[in-house]
């Protein structure tokens, strides 16, 4: 009985949540929604009962096609000097890779898997999962990464890129909260 109740509640929650990513995306993507883009067919869809927060794209930078549509793609590996100079691959296999290994050269609004399949920025975890398979597996199970929400209900997942800058993924050290007071100083 209880199980049915829980399921009903969960179902309701998912139905409500389902359009959310798309809607919030639409704002960032200035009109272009996920539904309109032709989604890659063969990659597995995310587990349905997750609410994944939208990708942290810089304001005004998306869609990439606004600029890139008219530009000719230069497939050569090189130092970027005219634009995106601030983007540097650091601690992320920079010797082996560069931009077009992940960004789709033909339509920059998509990312591209090694197989040639395209994925949207909302599904970037497939891209990360290509190399970080075990972490991807843990993430799907809710074990890698921060999980908030309800342990028996709606869970909020974060995209890999929400915590790890894809171009410089290592965590930056942070200031710890103050240590406890020593017992001798508790008066």
């Amino acid at each position: 009985m209880r199980k049915i109740q829980v399921l009903t509640v969960l179902l309701g929650v998912f139905l409500m949540m389902a359009p959310l990513p798309a809607r919030s995306d639409s704002k960032i993507h200035s009109g272009k929604t996920v539904a309109e883009a032709n989604p890659p067919e063969e990659v597995e869809r995310p587990i349905p009962n997750l609410f994944i927060t939208p990708p942290p794209l810089s304001e005004g930078i998306f869609p990439c096609s606004d600029c890139h549509a008219d530009q000719k793609t230069n497939p050569n590996r090189r130092e970027l000097t005219e634009f995106h100079e601030n983007i540097k691959l650091i601690n992320h296999a920079e010797k082996q890779r560069w931009c077009l290994d992940c960004h789709n050269p033909d339509d920059r609004d998509y990312l591209r898997l090694a197989s040639g399949k395209l994925v949207t920025f909302e599904e970037s975890y497939y891209l990360c999962g290509q190399c970080h398979g075990t972490i991807f597996r843990d993430w799907k199970a809710g074990v890698h990464g921060k999980r908030t929400g309800e342990w028996n209900g709606k869970k909020v997942y974060r995209l890999c890129v929400q915590c790890h800058n894809p171009h410089n993924p290592r965590f930056k050290p942070i200031t710890p909260k103050p240590p406890p007071i020593k017992p001798a100083d508790i008066k």
């Binding site: 020593k182 017992p183 001798a184 508790i186 008066k187």
Partner: protein
């Protein structure tokens, strides 16, 4: 019934009348009681924050005193064995006074537990029937039962014997003997259960050693009788109570055996810990050599060890134990030695290093010392008052003839003024 009330008032009169020395003694006790209990009122108001106890060392001076006093109470049994089982006459005559000491000691134990409670107003939660006593799972519940049982048992024996003597009646061994025989395992049990209270905590490796209960008993059989030897000598001097030298000598001999056994057990434990040198060595290292630069208890524990060793040799030598000076010296050394070893030296290292490896050096605050002094003074007063009534009865100056208070009444009061100075 009227007679009973009358007798009660006669006994009460014993308490209020006494020599100057008696009043001074009561005055001193009164002062410390006042000091202790007024400090306790502050503690009640502000909470146990006035103590030096903290989450890292959550038991301290109060429980240390409690543990030592359980030993004193339990040690009464050491005198009961030769007195009643082997009918050793010299001790038999004074065993009542050691049982009274046990009563006072148990009272002090209960007081020390009470002052240590965060919520003394809720102590009834712990009682069977009224509250929800966690019996048999909690060793503290066991301790409550055995301590109170021991108290009742001792009060019953002392009261029965005193009542019969006061009324010029022979007391029946058929009544006394079963109670006394019962009190022997019971006395052992109060100290064993108290040892198990600590012993049963795997979280605290220092206490979680099977040698703990035997060491408890061995050391209790040193300190308790040593305290009694001193008290008996004082009683002999200031009252008309007669205590034979052979009784005291016998007790001293028993202490020698107990101390020998205590030192042996100590050595056994030290060997195991220091030779194996496991992580469980840390508390011992803290006690005897200091740990990570903390050595607050080191001088105390060495003092205890040296005192115990000296006392052992003094008690062992017949010449030393029959000499009043060396005997008393040995007694004082034993009392101090065991007080340190079974007090702070037992309770505090259970918490050092703490379960998360932290070292917090605990040393009691003024509040704790004052409250403890107050408890000791209260216990001493209780014992004094018991003796004040019991000695005249015992020596025959205070008697209530069967049915009415006649013969001894006037004599008793006169007697207490003139000869019984306690």
């Amino acid at each position: 019934m009227m007679d009973q009330i009358k007798h009660f008032f006669i006994a009460l009169k014993q308490i209020v009348k006494g020599s100057r020395g008696y009043y001074i003694w009561i005055g001193i006790l009164g002062f410390f009681m006042l000091l202790g209990w007024s400090t306790y009122v502050i503690q009640l108001k502000r909470g146990l924050i006035v103590t030096a106890m903290r989450d890292q060392v959550s038991w301290g001076f109060y429980l240390s005193n409690f543990t030592f006093l359980v030993g004193v109470a339990a040690a009464a049994v050491l005198l009961v064995i030769p007195a009643y089982i082997y009918n050793f006459k010299p001790i038999k005559e004074i065993v009542l006074f050691s049982e009274m000491l046990a009563i006072a000691a148990i009272f002090m134990c209960i007081m020390f537990i009470m002052v240590d409670l965060g919520r003394p107003d809720r102590v009834w939660h712990l009682f069977p029937f009224f509250g929800t006593m966690n019996f048999p799972s909690s060793l503290l519940a066991w301790d409550v039962l055995v301590l109170n049982g021991y108290l009742v048992l001792n009060i019953a024996v002392v009261f029965y014997v005193m009542y019969r003597i006061a009324h010029n009646m022979e007391y029946s061994m058929a009544v006394v003997k079963p109670l006394v025989i019962l009190s022997i395992p019971w006395a052992i049990s109060i100290h064993t259960v108290t040892a198990f209270l600590y012993n049963g905590l795997p979280a605290r490796s220092f206490w979680n050693a099977s040698i703990l209960a035997p060491r408890f008993l061995a050391s209790a059989f040193c300190s308790g009788p040593a305290l009694m030897i001193i008290i008996f000598q004082v009683l002999r001097k200031i009252s008309d109570l007669e205590i034979e030298d052979s009784a005291i000598s016998k007790i001293a001999e028993l202490i020698a055996y107990a101390m020998g056994f205590n030192l042996f057990l100590f050595g056994a434990e030290m060997f195991k810990e220091f030779y194996s040198g496991t992580a469980q060595l840390a508390p011992f290292q803290y006690l005897y050599f200091g740990l990570h630069g903390y050595h607050g208890l080191v001088p105390w524990l060495w003092t205890a060890l040296i005192f115990n060793l000296i006392a052992f040799f003094l008690f062992l030598s017949p010449r030393a134990r029959n000499n009043v000076v060396t005997l008393n010296m040995a007694c004082v050394l034993v009392i101090i030695g065991v007080y340190i070893e079974k007090g702070m030296g037992l309770v505090v290292p259970g918490f050092i290093p703490g379960t998360l490896g932290e070292i917090y050096e605990y040393f009691p605050t003024h509040s704790e010392i004052f409250v403890s002094l107050g408890v000791w003074a209260t216990g001493a007063l209780l014992y004094t008052l018991m003796l004040k009534v019991a000695i005249p009865i015992y020596t025959g100056r205070l008697r209530f003839a069967r049915g009415a208070a006649t013969v001894g009444e006037s004599a008793a009061i006169r007697g207490s003024v003139t000869s019984a100075e306690l």
